[in-house]
């Protein structure tokens, strides 16, 4: 039995890594007049669909894909949300 899943993956910079793009965007937000905004950090959002035997298998596959390609563990963290789409018998 194979299940199809939809994954929403969030890749964010580790807090120890300076994010100059986030700093630039924060200054833009302040130029707009929102003086109370701080801590802007820019990350990546990735969607994909995958086939797996069950949710645990889907998570294992996603962890490997994220660790090896979608995120660089030296500078980034990731997390994902998984939704089951359909079951194929």
């Amino acid at each position: 039995m194979a299940n199809k899943y939809h994954a929403r993956i969030y890749v964010t910079l580790r807090s120890s890594v300076l994010d100059p793009a986030g700093v630039a965007v924060e200054s833009g937000i302040k130029q707009m007049g929102y003086q109370g905004v701080t801590g802007v950090r820019i990350g990546k959002y990735i969607e994909l669909e995958l086939t797996a035997t069950d949710e645990s298998d889907a998570k294992t596959q996603l962890d490997q894909i994220c660790d090896r390609l979608l995120a660089n563990p030296v500078i980034e963290n990731y997390c994902f949300e998984l939704t089951q789409l359909a079951t194929n018998h």
Binding site: S16, V17, L18, D19, P20, A21, A24, K44, L69, L70, N72, V74, I75
Partner: protein, 229 residues
């Protein structure tokens, strides 16, 4: 010493490199398409600058999974030489042959300039033709060249003397005013602990021909001529 230059989709310094190794120094040189896997005839693998796979996702991230990369890892494990310049340095960190990462320049600009560097060591194959602490001027051209590593990795690099090039002033002073991209400890180039893998953001191959007005990089390639392979 036979040189192999890896060509990814998006590499753009591959022919500059061949112009130096083959054209100027007369070293046998072969272009290696990234789909190849047999590189056993090669002594020095060069991963050139450019924008492999369009720099999509992260610089060097997708190149890491090209078929030739496993052969390059084995080549390095055998103690043979690997040189990564600019995008090549980014690929070497992504694949784990060198520690750390190259991230967005501190001031967000793509920097295209000629900058002074201090040669930290000259007891290596790569730098034997330079004086220790010699200041050289190499071109840089990158948007993601800020060297980053966690504090333990950085300490290990320094303790093992793995930093080979640092950004500096024309007089050789290493400080934050003379750090174009915000690299930690002004790092511009590092080696692995064994010394056979070198990654650097500056472009010595663009400073090796008097016809284009800069020759400080030529000594790096001339030092390769002294190796008998």
């Amino acid at each position: 010493m036979k040189v192999g230059i890896i060509v990814f989709p998006g590499s753009n310094c591959d022919r500059d490199m061949a112009t130096v190794t083959q054209g100027i120094l007369n070293l046998p040189t072969r272009m290696i398409w990234h789909q190849e896997t047999d590189i056993s005839d090669i002594d020095l693998v060069v991963i050139p600058g450019g924008f492999s796979y369009g720099d999509y996702l992260r610089c060097g991230a997708i190149a890491r999974f090209s078929p030739v990369m496993n052969s390059i890892i084995n080549h390095a494990k055998q103690g043979k030489y690997v040189l990564g310049i600019c995008n090549g340095f980014q690929v070497l960190t992504e694949v784990g042959l060198l520690p750390g990462a190259l991230i967005r320049n501190r001031d967000l600009h793509f920097i295209c300039d000629r900058v002074p560097l201090v040669v930290q060591r000259n007891d290596l194959l790569w730098t034997s033709k330079y004086q220790e602490k010699q200041v050289v001027t190499f071109p840089i051209a990158h948007g993601e060249g800020r060297y980053y590593a966690d504090p333990e990795t950085l300490k290990a690099l320094e303790d093992n003397n793995q930093v080979i090039f640092r950004y500096c002033s024309a007089a050789g002073e290493i400080n934050s005013e003379n750090n174009p991209n915000g690299s930690l400890n002004n790092i511009a180039g590092i080696i692995n602990p064994q010394g056979n893998v070198l990654g650097m953001m500056p472009h010595p191959e663009r400073a090796s021909d008097a016809a284009i007005g800069a020759t400080d990089g030529k000594a790096m390639f001339e030092s390769l001529l002294m190796v008998n392979c």
